[in-house]
């Protein structure tokens, strides 16, 4: 009963979203007249439209590919989100000055009018818990925690002064992926598949792969918000059933399933002929797509058939849920024409309060788990000619403080608190300037002093690479146009070719 009540409540809240004050006011003036007119007009339509045998019309297949408004630089996106926010100070943002301040009290001028998630009173500073070297031909700094990254350092462009205005995981993740820290907006992948569709008819256009756990913000980070729900991310799992509820129940052979579907579709089609409602066609299409996906998804999700050398390169763990598996899957998906692949790797919240979240233990393990697969992903895309038509984005939801986190006044294992003012992200792939570095932080990596970019700038840039002008790409909802980047966002030309 409880579940039913919950479902009903959810239904009501969704309906409520479509009825704003704006609508009420509008309806007051036009509503009644409109109702009357509507009933007149209805009687004017005659016959049902004919549907062609095949079609790419959006009303039939909401995922049918559409050309971008401008020439796109890339076809697909692989977004690697390190959930929990990895420390930029132990990976890419080398701050020798900070080492000198190690374990010294933080000057109060740095704490004034700042809010922290956990830091209380006056914390000590924490020097870099890593050693750094200039790597590759570009000589960009890379920490010793990322031994494989040096092989791809010349492929990526760093953004060293990204900033966000959120300092807790959930809202910051929402902002990063939906453009707003609050619920209700479509995610990046949803916008992209809404705008471009997807080439492969047998696979979802927006795939989500998680490792280590679900992001703090929950599934809304790949939700479709106010866009039609077909554009939400489809979570595929590398362990167990690839897609939940896709497998036939026991005792349901595939040919019987096909017959059932055919009968349902026939009935639905009769319904369509009677009323001419395109939503019915969408439903028919969705049934058929689900049926095709039953075969094609397990096929693309099967990494066992990959050659041994490839499996080794990624360091996959067949049959388990791992970031390495997900990276290999991401390549396979992109190779099969999936538009947007979103990876979430959980476990980067290195406060130092537990071994899993300490910079000298759990963090080092996380680096190890992801370093090799990421390098492998880039190299594998490169050798297949896919790197030039794919955009790879790496980052967390914010950065970490140069101070040693001291919750309850106790200094635990080396760890850092949340920091939104400055953190590092990188992009690689089609149209990205190889080896570029944009943005600079102060001597201790506390704030950006040059080339600061916002979360909306990142989103504007991703859309730009896919052939959109982020200011023109809108969706009308509740009586006004909405866009991913809200009222801001600038394309970061500095890292584009």
């Amino acid at each position: 009963m409880d579940k039913i009540r919950k479902l009903l409540a959810e239904q009501r809240s969704i309906e409520a979203q479509f009825n704003s004050r704006r609508h009420f006011i509008k309806d007051c003036t036009l509503g009644l007249g409109g109702l009357a007119l509507g009933s007149f007009l209805n009687s004017c339509t005659s016959g049902s439209p004919k549907i062609p045998a095949y079609t790419t019309d959006r009303s039939l297949n909401p995922m049918s590919p559409l050309p971008a408004p401008f020439l796109p630089k890339v076809k697909s996106v692989i977004y690697l989100h390190m959930v929990g926010a990895p420390s930029q100070l132990e990976l890419f943002d080398y701050k020798p000055e900070l080492a000198k301040l190690h374990n010294k009290a933080c000057p109060t001028s740095l704490l004034d009018s700042k809010k922290f998630a956990f830091i209380q009173g006056i914390p000590n500073m924490l020097g870099p818990q890593a050693t750094f070297k200039r790597e590759g031909e570009t000589g960009n700094w890379v920490s010793n925690h990322l031994p494989h990254f040096k092989k791809i350092v010349d492929e990526v462009a760093f953004l060293k002064a990204v900033h966000t205005d959120q300092f807790n995981h959930g809202p910051a993740q929402m902002l990063m992926h939906t453009g707003s820290p609050r619920n209700g907006r479509p995610s990046l992948g949803s916008w992209v598949t809404y705008g471009l569709g997807s080439d492969n008819n047998n696979l979802p256009g927006f795939v989500v792969l998680t490792s280590g756990g679900t992001p703090d913000a929950g599934k809304s980070v790949w939700g479709s918000g106010f866009l039609p729900s077909v554009y939400q991310g489809v979570q595929c799992r590398s362990k167990g059933d690839p897609v939940l509820y896709l497998k036939d129940p026991k005792g349901m052979p595939r040919d019987l399933k096909k017959k059932v579907l055919e009968s349902i579709n026939d009935i639905n089609f009769k319904e369509y002929e009677k009323f001419g409602d395109p939503e019915v066609l969408t439903r028919i299409n969705q049934y058929e797509m689900a049926y095709r996906m039953q075969v094609s998804v397990p096929e693309v999700m099967d990494i066992d058939k990959e050659p041994e050398t490839i499996k080794q390169m990624y360091g996959v763990k067949p049959g388990k849920e791992s970031f390495a598996n997900n990276c290999l899957l991401a390549r396979k998906m992109v190779e099969q024409g999936v538009r947007f692949v979103q990876l979430y790797d959980w476990g980067w919240d290195s406060h130092g309060a537990s071994p899993d979240g300490a910079l000298n233990t759990g963090f080092v393990r996380k680096c190890k788990e992801t370093d090799r697969p990421i390098a492998a992903l880039i190299l594998d895309l490169k050798q297949r000619g896919l790197l030039d038509e794919t955009l790879i984005v790496w980052g967390g939801e914010f950065g970490r403080t140069p101070m040693w986190e001291n919750r309850l006044g106790i200094q635990n294992a080396p760890g850092r608190d949340h920091q939104g003012d400055a953190f590092t992200m990188w992009m690689a792939g089609g149209g990205i300037k190889k080896g570029a570095v944009h943005g600079k932080t102060d001597e201790i990596g506390y704030s950006g002093i040059e080339g600061r970019v916002s979360v909306h700038d990142i989103q504007a840039t991703i859309l730009h690479q896919l052939g959109f002008d982020h200011e023109q790409f809108t969706y009308n909802f509740q009586g006004r146009p909405f866009r991913l980047t809200d009222v801001s966002g600038r394309v970061i030309d500095e890292i584009l070719t």
């Binding site: 020439l71 050398t309 190299l379």
Partner: protein, 455 residues
Amino acid sequence: MEFLIDLLGRFHPLIVHLPIGFLFLGLMMMVYDRKENKHRKVIRFAFFWGTFSTLGAALTGTVLYLREGYAWEDVQGHLILGILTFVFSFLLYLQLKEFTPFKKLSPKFLGYGLVFVLTITGHLGGNLTHGKHHLTDPLPPELKSALGMEVVSRNFVLSPETHQELPLYSGVIQPILDQKCVSCHNPKKTKGELLMHNYNGIMDGGEEGPIILALNAKNSEILKRIHLPRDEKKHMPPKSKTQLTKAEIKVIEQWVTLGAPEKKTVAELGLSSQLFTSFFPKDETGIYPDIAPKPLGNNFIDSLKATGLQVAPIYKTSSLLKVSAINIPAFDDHDAMVLLQAKDHIVDLDLGQTQITNAIFEVLQELNNLTVLKLDYTQVTGKGIQKLKSLSHLKEINLVMSALSNSGVEDLFSFPTLEKVYLFGLLDTTEIVEFPDTLKTVFELGNYQLNDTSD
């Protein structure tokens, strides 16, 4: 007492409306009265005052022309036709009055003539005060080009190579102002007493004082006006006119902040190219050829799609096509014949993971503008691949995991335009191909490996 004459001239815009009204009324009455011919007297009255006021308009107009420094080239049409209007209406009056020599004139001819000269005179007069493009400006660009008018691009273009040598003011700022401001702030039409067609005009400012405070962009009237909300009456450009773009505003702001110099170049002012990127010509077709064949008819595109191919323009308004067989693994050489229907349009073709063989090259060689070709995971061994050498736009071939033979690889060495070839995972690895050092084409062989680094 000179000023009285000037003042008289300035009454021209008022007086011109009298003859227009009188004469059209008279003409309308003529039409109304054409059968019964009962109201000659009344009609004559209209033409009497019409003629009289035309004379007034012509006189004040001439005064205006002589006293206010209009150029003869600009006013000649209006002036001559204005006098003709007077002549026609006077003749009509005389005809109606039935004076002997004029009685024989055809009122029909005079009427039509008057309609014609009156309309054109009025139009030319309007052009003088409101500008030549007063009526054509609001037309949508499609309509303009359909009418054979030149559609001027609203945004000017800078060259990425030479923009640093340009003086910031004359090379960038003035062209922006010319497009967005000068139509109202010029010597002919000087709204707010402000001239923006040259440096001195801008520096002199308007009726409310200077518009530029050097080094102080925030308090300069020009930027204050630009930043006002669009609905605000004082917002510039007015909300009905083409607005400044963000990049244009930024450049103007930068110029004022630097003291609004007249002669200094972009390089001398130390401005980075970043500021100007949105003025550079857009690279619209990327690696694809910069051509625009006549768009392929929908029925052709539909017949391609009917085979299961994904067919889409490379971007919304392009006629070049991207075609992919990603949804039809059974696609074979025979099916490929359908591609010939779009042989000038296909620039990007993905036949990866299909059943095609070497016979495909027969078809592919016809695709004149093919730029990117994917034949990965196919059985092509490369026999006949040299046929593609004649494709003058071919830049990328993906043969990853294909059956391409060594000789097939070597055939690609002589392709003149080829930039990149992907050869990872070729099935035939019996012999190692030797790649000459002189090749311009990049052959990506892959086989990357990651060591077991434990450091």
